[in-house]
C-alpha cells in the first residue's frame, strides 16, 4: 500500500462488475488502492468503522440489496465526517429520475455503466484524474452525467 495512493471504494453487489472494475484499475496504471463492498449495509458499516480509512472517491451502485445506493447517498450526506467524500454514481440505469434524484442528493457525478471494457477504463481514468476541488465548485446539472468526448 502506497501512502499517496488514491483510496477508491466500489459498492456493487454484482461480482462481474467488481471484477471489471478491479481489472480496469489494474490496467490504468494510476496508484490506487481499490476496496469493495457488496451491499449498502456493508458500505455504511465500512464507512462508519473508524479503523477504515475513508475513500477519496466512492463509486456507488444504485440497485443494491439490503440498502439501496440512494439510501446510502442520503445517509452519507447527512453524516458530518462523510459528507465530503466524492461520490460517483455507478449504475446501469440511465433514467432521468435516477439522475435527477442523485444530483439533488448531492452526488458529484453520474456514470452509466458502459458495455465496453475500454470505455470503462477511459471513464475511470477521467473520474480519477479530475481535480475534484475545482470540479465541485463548478458542479451543475448539465455536466453531472459523465459523457466521454
Amino acid at each position: 500500500m502506497q501512502k499517496n495512493a488514491l483510496h477508491i471504494l466500489l459498492a456493487d453487489d454484482d461480482e462481474d462488475d467488481r471484477l471489471f472494475f478491479k481489472d480496469a484499475f489494474e490496467e490504468i496504471k494510476i496508484q490506487t488502492n481499490v476496496n469493495f463492498v457488496h451491499d449498502g449495509m456493508q458500505l455504511m458499516d465500512h464507512l462508519m468503522n473508524p479503523d477504515n480509512k475513508l475513500p477519496d472517491i466512492l463509486f456507488l451502485d444504485l440497485n443494491m440489496p439490503k440498502k439501496t445506493g440512494k439510501e446510502c447517498l442520503i445517509e452519507i450526506k447527512k453524516t458530518d465526517h462523510l459528507k465530503d467524500i466524492i461520490i460517483a454514481i455507478y449504475s446501469t440505469s440511465s433514467s432521468e429520475e435516477d439522475i435527477e434524484d442523485t444530483f439533488i442528493q448531492g452526488a458529484n457525478i453520474y456514470i452509466k455503466k458502459p458495455s465496453d471494457f475500454n470505455t470503462l477504463k477511459k471513464i475511470i481514468n477521467e473520474v480519477v484524474t479530475v481535480n475534484w476541488h475545482y470540479h465541485t465548485s463548478g458542479l451543475n446539472r448539465d455536466n453531472f452525467l459523465l459523457r466521454l468526448k
Binding site: 471489471f20 440505469s93 465496453d116 470503462l120
Partner: protein
C-alpha cells in the same frame, strides 16, 4: 315569481265600480225626491181644489138660501124656505172644512174670519128681509134696504171668496214653482249621468272580460308549463318539492312519488316522510341537512341513498333553497335527482381507472425491468466480448472469431432495441411538463446531438426562425433528432443531404380532417429532404411501431423512431404526416397547437 301575470287593472276596476255605484245612488235619490215633490204638489193641487170646492159650496148654499128666501117672499109658500133652513147647516159644514183646510195659512184664516162675518151679516140680512116681507110686519122701505144691503153683502162675499181662491191659486203657483226649481236637474242631465254610469259599468265589464281572457291564456300556459315540468322531471329523472314553513305543508311533485317507487299522490307528505324512505345509513345526514337549510337558506348538494318499497336502493342528490313568496311566507324549494345511473357509471369508471392505474404501474415496472434487469446481462455480454483481446482471437478458429463478431453485432442490436423501446415507453409514462420554449433552441440541441453524422455526411440543414411554444422540451428535441436523423440515415448515396425546415402559422379550419378543431391556430413545421424517399403508399404505415421499409442489413434500425415521433406529437395534441416521391425526397409535416 315573474311568471305570475300582473292584474293591475283590478284597482282601476274598483274605482270605476265605486263611481258608477255613486252615480246610480245619486240618480235614485233624485228620482225619490222628485217623486216626493210630485206627491206634495198633487196634494197641494188637491188642497187648493178642495178649498175652491168648499168655497163654491159655501157660495151655492148662500145662493140656495137667497133663492129659497125670494121664492118664499114671492109665494109665501113655506116649502121654499127649506133650502134656506138647510143652507145654514151647509154653510157651517163648509166653514168647518175650510177652517181645517186653511189651518196652516194665517192669511186665509183671517180672510175666512172676514168671510164668516160677511156671511153672518148676510144671514142677519136674510132674517131682516123675511121679517119685513112678512105681511104682519111688512115695511117696504126697510125690506128694500135690506134686500139691497143683502145684494151688496152678496157681492162682498163673492169678492171675498174670489180673493181667497186667488190666494190659494197664487200659493199653489208659488209652491209648484218652488218644486219645479227644486227638481232643477234636467232630464237630459239625468240621462247623461245614467249613460256615464252605464258606460262605466260597461268599461268595467270589458276590463273584467279582458282580464278573464288573459287569465284563461295564462292558465293555459301554466297548464302547459306544469305539464312540461312534470314531463321533463320524468325524462331528467328529477323531482321537486315545496315546503311551506309557515303552514308546515309539504308538496311533492308527481315524479317525487315515482322516484320513490310509489304512485303519485299516494300519501300526504310531511316532515317525517321527507326522510322516511332515506336509507338508514344516510338518515342522520339528510335530517341534519334539512335542519341546516333553515339557517343557511341554501342547501348544498346532499348525496344519499333511498330504499323503495320493493327494497331497491337508489342514489339521490338533493339541493334546495329558501325563498320568500309574494305573500311573505317562507317556502323551501327542493330538487331531487335520481343519480343512480351516473353513480353506477361512476363506480364502473373508478374501477376502470383503477385498472388503468394498475396497468400503468405495470408498464412502469416493465420500464424498470427493461432499464435494469434486461440491460444488465446484455451489458455483461458486451463487456465480456470486449474483454476478448486480439491476442485471444489470434488463437481462435476462423469460425470462432466469426461467432464472436456475430454475438457482438446481435448484442449491439439488442441494445439499440432496448434503448428505443425504453424511449418509446418513456414518451408515454414520464410526466408531461409543458414549458414555453424557443423551438430553435431545441433544434440546436438536436443538431449538436447529431453533430457527428451531420459532419460525416456534410449535411446542410436550413431552418428559419421557429416559434416559441409551450411544449415538453426533451420530447420535441427527440422529435427533431428522430426526423433529422431519419433524413440523414436515408439520404441518397453520393448526394449531399439537404434538409430544409420551414414554419408557418395555419388555421385549424384549413385542415378539418386531421386537426383538433377546438384549437384555432396551429404551427405547421415542415421537414423536407432530398433523400431517397419512400413509396407514398406507406405514408401511414411508417408511423406504426416496428414497421420497417428497409431490411436491417441495409439500414439498421428498430422501426421505433417514427412511432416515437407520432407519440410525441400526439402528446402535444398535434398531428404528423409524411409524404414522399420515391427517389426525390420526403416531407414530414408536424402540426403543433399554438
Amino acid at each position: 315569481m315573474k311568471w305570475i301575470p300582473n292584474f293591475n287593472s283590478s284597482n282601476s276596476l274598483r274605482v270605476i265600480f265605486v263611481i258608477a255605484v255613486f252615480i246610480l245612488l245619486f240618480l235614485s235619490s233624485i228620482a225619490y225626491k222628485h217623486n216626493q215633490d210630485l206627491n206634495e204638489s198633487s196634494k197641494l193641487v188637491m188642497h187648493t181644489y178642495e178649498i175652491n170646492i168648499q168655497l163654491e159650496r159655501l157660495m151655492s148654499a148662500i145662493k140656495d138660501a137667497e133663492t129659497g128666501q125670494r121664492g118664499y117672499i114671492i109665494t109665501r109658500n113655506a116649502r121654499f124656505l127649506t133650502p134656506y133652513i138647510y143652507s145654514r147647516d151647509k154653510v157651517n159644514t163648509s166653514f168647518i172644512n175650510l177652517k181645517k183646510l186653511t189651518a196652516d195659512n194665517p192669511q186665509q184664516q183671517k180672510n175666512l174670519h172676514r168671510l164668516f162675518k160677511l156671511i153672518t151679516q148676510r144671514f142677519v140680512s136674510f132674517e131682516n128681509c123675511l121679517k119685513y116681507s112678512d105681511p104682519k110686519t111688512y115695511d117696504k122701505r126697510k125690506l128694500d134696504n135690506h134686500m139691497f144691503g143683502g145684494r151688496i153683502l152678496m157681492e162682498n162675499i163673492r169678492f171675498k171668496v174670489d180673493e181667497m181662491n186667488d190666494i190659494e191659486k197664487e200659493f199653489l203657483k208659488k209652491r209648484l214653482k218652488i218644486y219645479d226649481s227644486e227638481i232643477s236637474l234636467s232630464p237630459l242631465f239625468s240621462i247623461s249621468l245614467f249613460l256615464v254610469a252605464l258606460s262605466f259599468i260597461l268599461l268595467a265589464y270589458r276590463q273584467i272580460s279582458r282580464d278573464f281572457e288573459r287569465l284563461k291564456v295564462f292558465n293555459k300556459k301554466l297548464l302547459i308549463s306544469s305539464g312540461l315540468i312534470s314531463e321533463s322531471e320524468n325524462i331528467g329523472k328529477f323531482s321537486t318539492w315545496q315546503w311551506d314553513l309557515d303552514s308546515d305543508k309539504i308538496d311533492f311533485s308527481d315524479n317525487q312519488f315515482q322516484l320513490l317507487g310509489l304512485e303519485p299522490r299516494s300519501f300526504a307528505p310531511n316532515k317525517a316522510t321527507l326522510i322516511k324512505y332515506v336509507h338508514p345509513d344516510d338518515k342522520e345526514a339528510v335530517a341534519k341537512a334539512i335542519d341546516g337549510i333553515l339557517d343557511k337558506k341554501h342547501l348544498p348538494f346532499v348525496y344519499y341513498k333511498i330504499i323503495r318499497p320493493d327494497f331497491e336502493v337508489r342514489y339521490f342528490k338533493t339541493t334546495g333553497k329558501l325563498v320568500t313568496d309574494q305573500q311573505g311566507s317562507k317556502i323551501l324549494l327542493g330538487i331531487n335527482f335520481d343519480i343512480t345511473d351516473e353513480h353506477l357509471l361512476n363506480i364502473e369508471l373508478q374501477e376502470r381507472n383503477k385498472e388503468l392505474e394498475k396497468s400503468n404501474k405495470e408498464l412502469a415496472s416493465f420500464n424498470h425491468v427493461a432499464s435494469h434487469d434486461l440491460q444488465e446481462p446484455l451489458r455483461k455480454i458486451q463487456t465480456f466480448i470486449s474483454r476478448v483481446s486480439d491476442a485471444d482471437k489470434e488463437v481462435m478458429s476462423e469460425s470462432g472469431k466469426n461467432y464472436i463478431t456475430k454475438i457482438e453485432s446481435s448484442a449491439k442490436r439488442m441494445r439499440v432495441l432496448i434503448d428505443d423501446l425504453l424511449l418509446f415507453s418513456r414518451t408515454n409514462t414520464t410526466k408531461k411538463e409543458f414549458i414555453k420554449v424557443n423551438l430553435n433552441e431545441l433544434l440546436n440541441n438536436a443538431e449538436s446531438e447529431l453533430a457527428e453524422i451531420i459532419e460525416e455526411k456534410k449535411a446542410i440543414i436550413s431552418a428559419p426562425k421557429l416559434p416559441k411554444l409551450s411544449v415538453i422540451p426533451y420530447q420535441i428535441e427527440q422529435l427533431f433528432i428522430n426526423l433529422i436523423g431519419n433524413s440523414l440515415k436515408y439520404s441518397q448515396p453520393g448526394l449531399r443531404p439537404e434538409i430544409s425546415i420551414s414554419s408557418e402559422k395555419v388555421s385549424a379550419s384549413d385542415y378539418p380532417e386531421i386537426l383538433e378543431q377546438s384549437v384555432k391556430k396551429f404551427h405547421k413545421i415542415t421537414f423536407s429532404d432530398n433523400g431517397m424517399g419512400f413509396d407514398p403508399q406507406f405514408k401511414e404505415t411508417i408511423f406504426i411501431l416496428f414497421q420497417r421499409l428497409h431490411s436491417k442489413t441495409d439500414y439498421p434500425g428498430t422501426g421505433i423512431g417514427l412511432a416515437i415521433c407520432k407519440k410525441i406529437v400526439e402528446n402535444h395534441k398535434g398531428h404528423i404526416t409524411a409524404d414522399s416521391i420515391l427517389g426525390k425526397g420526403s416531407v414530414f409535416t408536424v402540426f403543433l397547437p399554438d
